[in-house]
Amino acid sequence: MQTKQTLVALVENKPGVLNRVASLFRRRNFNIDSLTVGRTESPERSRMTIVVDAGADQVAKHLYKLVNVIQVENVSTVPNVSRDLALIKVHVDADTRGQVIQLCDIFRAHIVDTSSRAMIVEVTGDEEKINSMVEMLRPLGILEMVRTGVVAMARGDDVLAPPDYEARRPASNGHRASVL
C-alpha cells in the first residue's frame, strides 16, 4: 500500500506537542509528505493534517500513544475536502503577462502582487489542481514558490471532536497556553 493517505489529528494546544509529533515520525522512520498545524474551533485544541506515504494505520496508532493526541481520523477513507494553498512568484514580461492572467482565470487563482518583471499568484485547491497550475506556469519561469501543505476535513454531518471531554484541571496561564 503505497498510496498517500491524509490523517487529521486533534491535539491538545500545549507547548511541545508539535515537537512530540515530529519526533515520533523521525523515531519510527515514518515518511510524511506534509504536515500542517493550526487553530481550531476550540482554544484548547490544535489540529494537524498529516499526509503520509504509507502505513497510515501504524502512524495513527503511534499518534494515539502520545498523551496529548486526542483524536485521529484517516479522512482518505471517507468523502472529504482537502485544500492546499500556494503562492507562486512567476517571471513575466510584456508577452507573457496576458498568459498568466488567462491561466489564473482558468484555475480560479488570484494575482495578489504585480511588478514589472514578476507576479505573485495565489491558488487554492486540492493538491492535483495546484500541481497542474505549477506545471502550466513552469515554462514561464517560477522564481519562488511556497505551499502550505494540505488541510482536510471530512464531508457531511460527522464531526471530529473529543469524546465528552471536560477539563478537570485548572486553566493554564494564558501566556503559556498557545503555540505548539
Binding site: S23, V67, A167
Partner: protein, 565 residues
C-alpha cells in the same frame, strides 16, 4: 494550606504511596532536598551516580508492581538518568523521575547546568512535563503517576525549575483520577474477535503459547495456565515473561528466541497456531521474520495497539488487557489433547537434554551454568533474581526456572549493562527482602559497581554474585562465531573483587571449584544485615548455546556439541 513547590512535590509523593526515592542532590533540586527534612516518612537513598537512581527505581517497580521514584538535579544529573529511563521505557516499567531545572527566567540561556531535559528524554519517556507554574505542580505529579502505572506502563519525567520549587501557593490535592483527553483505558475484546480466535484455536493441531511480560504486568498467570491446561498447549516464554507461568510446569518449554531452548524454537517453527500473550515479537525472539513460524496463524493479544502488526502480521489481533481478554476467552475454549504434537515436542526435548552442559562432569572446571543451577537448588528456586546483561543473563534464563511473577528482574529490551546491581538494591528495598540475588558479569558489574557504596551505606541485604570470566563474554562469543576469533576489546583486566568489597566493608568470598558453590551460597544466604559478594571465577571461553545468529532463521540454531561426539 500554603506550601512551597518543593513541599507540594513531597506531599504529592506521600499521597501516591511513595515510601522510598533514589536520588542525588544538586543546585537546581536543592529546595526539594531541603523540604525532605520535613518529610521523614519518605526515605531518600543517596546513590553514587544518577544512572543508579533510575535503575533502582526501576528494580523497585519491577519487584513490587508499584511506581519507582528517582530524583536528580538539572543538567548532568538529569542526563545521567537517561540510560535508566530508556531501560524502563523498553521494558514498560513504571517509574517517575523528578529533575530540577534552572529557574524559568534562565531557561534557554545556556545557564549553568542547564539541559533541555524534556527534549532529551522525549523519545525515551511515555510522557514528560516541564512545569512552569507552581499552580500546575500538584495535578502534573498526579497525572505523571497515573500515566506511569496505567495502560502499558512506562517512565514519566517531570522537570521542575528551581523558582517553581520555591514559589508558594495554596496546596489543593486533586483527589479525583486524572482525566486526560488523549489517554484511553485499555479496551476489551469484541465478540467477533473472540469468535475468530476460537475458530483458529479449534482448528489448531500444533499450537504454541508465547507468554511475554504482559502476562506478569496484567497479572494473568492463572488465566494463561487455565487456557494452557485446558487445551494442552505448550508455553514458550520470552525473557521478560519468565515467572509468568511456573517454568517447572509440564507444559512449559522454557525460553524462546536467540538463546531459547531448542525445543521451544522448533515448536514455534513447526506450529500451526501461535497465541501471543502480552509479547511484542522482538527481533531477539523471532530471528528472520521472513521465515518465522511460516505455518502458523497468529492470535496476538496486547494492551498496546501499536504492537499489533508491527513486526508480525496477526490473523486475529486483540487489543486489551491480557487478563481481561483471557477471562472473556477461556469459558468458550473446549478441551484439547494434542498428543501427536506433544510426542514430537518430547523428541526435541530429549535431544536438547542430551546436549545440555548441566549433565557434564565439569572436572576441575567451573561452568557458569553449573553455578546458576546450584544457586537455584540452594535457594530452593525461591529467590528474586536480578541480572545484568550478557552471557550470565542468558545462563540465568536457561538454568534458573522461575515459579512466580516478579521473581526475575532483567533488562530485556534495551540490554543495559550495569542494570543488575542498582536494580537489585531497588528490588530488595521494595520487597524488604534479603532473598534478592544480583547475578552480574564482571563487565556489566564494573559499569555501576560504584553503587556498592549505596548498598553498604543503606545496609541493603542483597547477594551479589559475579560470574567472572575475565571477558565481555557475550561480545567475545560473537567474535568467536562471526569475527574469526579476533577478540578485540573484550578481555578485561579486573580488580580483585573480594578486596574491592572489603574496602566497602562488604563480606566477600571467591569460588573457583564446583564443590564450593553451594556452601558459599548458603554462607551468603545467612547474611541479612547488609550486602554480601561472591566472585565466581568461571570458564573463560564458554559459550551460550543454543544460539540463533542475529537475523538467522529461528530453527537454524548453533547447538552445543554433544561432548565426546
Amino acid at each position: 494550606m500554603k506550601l512551597t513547590g518543593a513541599e507540594i512535590i513531597l506531599e504529592c509523593l506521600l499521597r501516591e504511596g511513595v515510601e522510598v526515592m533514589y536520588g542525588y542532590p544538586g543546585g537546581a533540586i536543592l529546595p526539594t532536598y531541603d523540604a525532605m527534612t520535613k518529610y521523614p516518612q519518605i526515605r531518600h537513598v543517596l546513590v553514587r551516580h544518577e544512572q543508579g537512581a533510575a535503575h533502582m527505581a526501576d528494580g523497585y517497580a519491577r519487584a513490587t508492581g508499584k511506581v519507582g521514584v528517582a530524583i536528580a538535579t538539572s543538567g548532568p544529573g538529569a542526563t545521567n538518568l537517561v540510560t535508566g529511563i530508556a531501560t524502563a521505557m523498553m521494558d514498560s516499567s513504571p517509574i517517575v523521575c523528578i529533575t530540577g531545572q534552572v529557574p524559568t527566567g534562565a531557561i534557554g540561556t545556556d545557564a549553568f547546568q542547564e539541559t533541555d531535559v524534556t527534549g532529551v528524554t522525549l523519545p525515551v519517556t511515555k510522557h514528560n512535563y516541564l512545569v512552569y507554574d507552581v499552580e500546575d505542580l500538584a495535578y502534573t505529579i498526579r497525572e505523571a503517576f497515573h500515566i506511569a502505572r496505567t495502560g502499558r506502563p512506562g517512565p514519566v519525567l517531570i522537570d521542575i525549575p528551581k523558582d517553581v520549587q520555591n514559589a508558594v501557593t495554596e496546596f489543593v490535592y486533586p483527589e479525583e483520577e486524572p482525566v486526560l483527553p488523549g489517554y484511553r483505558p485499555p479496551q476489551e475484546a469484541t465478540e467477533e474477535q473472540i469468535r475468530a480466535a476460537l475458530e483458529l484455536i479449534e482448528r489448531a493441531e500444533r499450537p504454541v503459547i508465547l507468554a511475554g511480560h504482559g502476562v506478569i504486568m496484567s497479572g494473568a498467570s492463572r488465566e494463561v495456565l487455565e487456557y494452557a491446561e485446558k487445551t494442552q498447549t505448550p508455553i514458550a516464554l520470552t525473557l521478560l515473561g519468565k515467572g509468568g507461568v511456573p517454568e517447572t510446569h509440564p507444559l512449559s518449554l522454557g525460553m524462546m528466541g536467540m538463546h531459547g531452548t531448542g525445543h521451544a524454537n522448533l515448536a514455534i517453527q513447526h506450529a500451526d497456531l501461535l497465541l501471543a500473550f502480552g509479547m511484542r515479537f522482538d527481533d531477539r525472539v523471532t530471528g528472520n521474520l521472513k521465515t518465522y513460524a511460516p505455518h502458523a496463524k497468529k492470535i496476538h493479544i496486547d494492551i498496546d495497539p501499536s504492537e499489533i502488526h508491527k513486526n508480525v502480521r496477526a490473523d486475529v489481533p486483540i487489543v486489551g488487557d491480557l487478563r481481561a481478554v483471557l477471562r472473556q476467552l477461556n469459558p468458550h475454549v473446549k478441551p484439547q489433547e494434542h498428543r501427536e504434537w506433544w510426542a514430537q515436542i518430547r523428541d526435541w526435548m530429549e535431544d536438547a537434554d542430551e546436549r545440555d552442559i548441566i549433565h557434564w562432569d565439569a572436572g576441575e572446571r567451573l561452568f557458569a551454568a553449573h553455578v546458576i543451577r546450584d544457586m537455584w537448588q540452594a535457594t530452593g528456586g525461591n529467590a528474586v533474581i536480578v541480572t545484568d546483561v550478557g552471557q550470565h543473563q542468558m545462563w540465568e534464563a536457561q538454568y534458573y526456572p522461575h515459579e512466580r511473577p516478579h521473581t526475575l528482574i532483567t533488562s530485556g529490551g534495551l540490554g543495559t549493562m550495569g542494570f543488575g546491581l542498582p536494580a537489585a538494591i531497588g528490588a530488595s528495598m521494595g520487597l524488604k527482602s534479603s532473598n534478592v540475588w544480583a547475578i552480574v558479569g564482571d563487565g556489566g558489574f564494573q559499569m555501576t559497581m560504584t553503587e556498592l557504596g549505596t548498598a553498604a551505606q543503606e545496609r541493603v541485604p542483597i547477594k551479589i554474585c559475579i560470574i567472572n570470566n575475565g571477558y565481555l563474554g557475550m561480545v567475545r562469543q560473537w567474535q568467536e562465531f562471526f569475527y574469526e576469533e579476533r577478540y578485540n576489546a573484550t578481555p578485561m583486566h579486573n580488580p580483585d573483587f573480594v578486596k574491592l568489597a572489603d574496602a566497602y566493608g562488604i563480606p566477600a568470598r571467591r569460588v573457583t571449584r564446583r564443590q564450593d558453590v553451594i556452601p558459599t551460597i548458603e554462607w551468603a544466604a545467612g547474611i541479612d544485615d547488609g550486602p554480601v559478594l561472591i566472585d565466581f571465577v568461571v570458564e573463560k571461553h564458554d559459550i551460550v548455546y543454543p544460539m540463533v545468529p542475529a537475523g538467522a532463521d529461528l530453527h537454524n540454531m548453533i547447538r552445543r556439541p554433544i561432548e565426546g561426539k
